[in-house]
């Protein structure tokens, strides 16, 4: 059944991206990439359901997720540049200024 093949791929990619967020705690760049990968997995799931039901709602949702993801990538990378400029590092653990 094609639907479940696609959903399985989506779930596996999402899980891999989650694991990536755990193991790459030192690297803000790869964390951002893992978020992109998660969004890709969710989008694949949306497209699969949309194809299954024959409706377009899922694809419209993917469209908006892509828009938000693009904005998120732009702002995230800007934040990354600012963090690197101030800390000379992209280590998540160095971003602890708000820690009391």
């Amino acid at each position: 059944m094609p639907l479940f093949d696609d959903l399985a791929v989506s779930a596996v990619v999402f899980a891999i991206a989650l694991a990536g967020m755990f193991v790459n705690r030192k690297n803000l760049v790869v964390l951002l990439m893992c978020i992109e990968l998660m969004l890709l997995a969710v989008n694949t799931s949306f497209v699969a359901w949309s194809a299954w039901w024959g409706g377009l709602s899922g694809q419209v949702a993917v469209f908006f997720v892509l828009t938000v993801a693009a904005a998120e990538a732009a702002i995230g990378l800007a934040l990354l540049v600012v963090v690197f400029r101030n800390k000379r590092s992209v280590d998540v653990d160095t971003i602890d200024t708000l820690k009391g």
Binding site: M1, D5, D6, M33, C34, V47, V60, A71, L77
Partner: protein
């Protein structure tokens, strides 16, 4: 099972496999540039899967917008930053077992939800056949007619993203001459242009040497 069906299954299997492998590559790549390239590969493969599912427009948008714009931006930033490769790998092995456990648990849970028996999908209606409209046209009608306001809000969101990115990364260095847009906007013509009469009253007429 027809030959075309088998072909689709084969193409799906190949690209899904490459997608999963490249997703793993993103996670385990030592160099962030390699991770970004693996991410681009996984985007390409996901685009193929989407096209197989009938979402041609979104597949092309994924390649154009994501690979063409977002990933180029990401690669640009990654190459601009001078990242210490030794430091960022610290803790990778230590967190790996926990990550594997969580990922397997999550994949199992998602699979459990998606599995047909538990969701009762078998008893639901069979999938509808897509309409006769081409995918791009149908999506365009939907976006520009039914979902026009969300579409415009999405556009505004992108504008906010652009402004935020510029504001965040704009720096004012000392000793660098830069534009002052506020002063430029506030300028008045009277302070910039002085109209001079080349032939004031009392001087000789046209053709005169002095003036």
């Amino acid at each position: 099972m027809t030959a075309a069906h088998l072909l689709v299954e084969g193409v799906f299997g190949f690209f899904a496999t490459v997608l999963v492998i490249s997703a793993l590559g993103v996670v385990v790549a030592r160099n962030p540039v390699h991770a970004a390239l693996f991410l681009i590969l996984s985007f390409f493969n996901a685009a193929v899967l989407w096209v197989l599912l009938g979402a041609e427009f979104l597949g092309i948008v994924l390649v154009l917008v994501y690979v063409g714009a977002v990933m180029v931006l990401l690669l640009f930033v990654v190459m601009m930053l001078d990242i210490d490769l030794v430091v960022i790998r610290r803790g990778f092995v230590r967190h790996a077992p926990l990550a594997a456990v969580v990922a397997l648990l999550l994949a199992f849970e998602i699979g459990y939800v998606f599995w047909a028996r538990h969701l009762g999908l078998v008893s639901l209606a069979p999938p509808l056949r897509p309409g006769t409209l081409p995918n791009t046209r149908a999506l365009g009608l939907r976006l520009y007619r039914d979902d026009l306001y969300p579409f415009e809000i999405a556009g505004f969101l992108l504008l906010v993203g652009v402004v935020a990115a510029i504001v965040l990364t704009l720096t004012h260095r000392e000793g660098v001459r830069r534009q002052d847009p506020s002063a430029q906007v506030r300028v008045e013509p009277a302070r910039r242009i002085r109209l001079v009469d080349p032939f004031p009253k009392g001087t000789p007429g046209k053709g005169g040497e002095g003036g």
